[in-house]
C-alpha cells in the first residue's frame, strides 16, 4: 500500500513536471514568434 502510494506520487510528479516543461516551452515559443515576427495588422 505504502509503495503503491509512493509510485502514484512519483508518477504524478512526473506528469506535473512534463506539464510545466511543456507550458514553459510553449510560452517561450510564443514569445519568440511574437518577437521575431513583424506582421502589420489592422488593429494598429
Amino acid at each position: 500500500m505504502k509503495s503503491q502510494l509512493f509510485n502514484i506520487s512519483i508518477k504524478t510528479g512526473r506528469i506535473n513536471q512534463q506539464q510545466v516543461r511543456a507550458i514553459l516551452a510553449l510560452g517561450t515559443l510564443i514569445l519568440f514568434v511574437l518577437g521575431a515576427g513583424a506582421p502589420a495588422d489592422h488593429g494598429h
Binding site: 512534463q18 511543456a22 515559443l29 519568440f32 514568434v33 511574437l34 521575431a36 506582421p39 495588422d41 489592422h42
Partner: protein
C-alpha cells in the same frame, strides 16, 4: 500566432493518435527569450508606454531584441525547426536593419488592408501606429521583397500584412509543435 495555435492543436492530436505524450524538446537558454522580449513588450505591446516611445527608441529596441532572439535560435540549432525559425528571423532582421530599424510597409499594401492613409495622417518614413512597421514606398525600400508585402486572402476575417521572414517563422513554429506530438522516429528527427 495562428501557426503556434494550429501547430499546438495538430501536435496534440498527433500525440493522441500515436498514443504518445506531447513533448516539446528541451530548449537551451530559455531566459534569453524572456530578456529579449522585454524591450519589445515595453515599446510595442504595453499600452501605457507604446505611444510614448519615439520611432528611434522603437527601432533600437527592435534591433536589440531581435539580435538576442537570433542568439537564442543559434543556441538551439540542434533542433531543425530552429534553423527555419532562425532563417525567418534573420530575413526580418536584415530588412529591418537596412531600413532604419523598423519593418517597411508600402502605402499600397496598407491600402489593400483597408487602411485609409489620409485618415491616419501617415507620412512617408513614419511608424504605423504603435506597430513595428514604417511607411515606405517600394522605391525607397531596401530589399523590398523581404518587407511586409503579403496579405491573407480577402475572405479571411482578419486583415494582416506579413513578410517572407514571417512565413518562415510560422512554418518553423508549426513544424516544432507538430513534430513534438509525433512518433519516436519523427521525434528523433527533431534534432539532426
Amino acid at each position: 500566432m495562428l501557426a503556434v495555435l494550429g501547430g499546438f492543436v495538430a501536435g496534440l492530436l498527433r500525440a493522441w493518435y500515436n498514443g504518445r505524450v506531447f513533448a516539446i524538446p528541451d530548449l537551451r537558454t530559455v531566459w534569453l527569450v524572456f530578456v529579449a522580449f522585454i524591450p519589445q513588450w515595453i515599446v510595442f505591446y504595453l499600452p501605457l508606454t507604446r505611444r510614448l516611445a519615439s520611432d528611434e527608441v522603437a527601432a533600437a529596441a527592435l534591433l536589440v531584441s531581435q539580435t538576442l532572439l537570433l542568439i537564442f535560435a543559434w543556441f538551439n540549432r540542434q533542433l531543425f525547426a530552429f534553423w527555419v525559425l532562425g532563417l525567418g528571423l534573420l530575413l526580418n532582421l536584415c530588412v529591418i536593419s537596412l531600413n532604419g530599424g523598423l519593418m517597411p510597409i508600402s502605402p499600397e499594401t496598407l491600402s489593400k488592408m483597408g487602411i485609409d492613409l489620409a485618415a491616419h495622417a501617415l507620412q512617408v518614413g513614419e511608424r504605423f501606429g504603435g506597430s513595428k512597421d514604417v511607411l515606405l514606398p517600394p522605391a525607397q525600400t531596401r530589399f523590398v521583397w523581404l518587407s511586409d508585402r503579403f496579405l491573407l486572402p480577402g475572405w479571411f476575417p482578419y486583415s494582416v500584412a506579413f513578410s517572407l521572414g514571417d512565413i518562415l517563422i510560422a512554418v518553423g513554429a508549426f513544424w516544432l509543435l507538430w513534430a513534438s506530438g509525433g512518433s519516436k522516429i519523427s521525434q528523433a528527427s527533431l534534432s539532426h
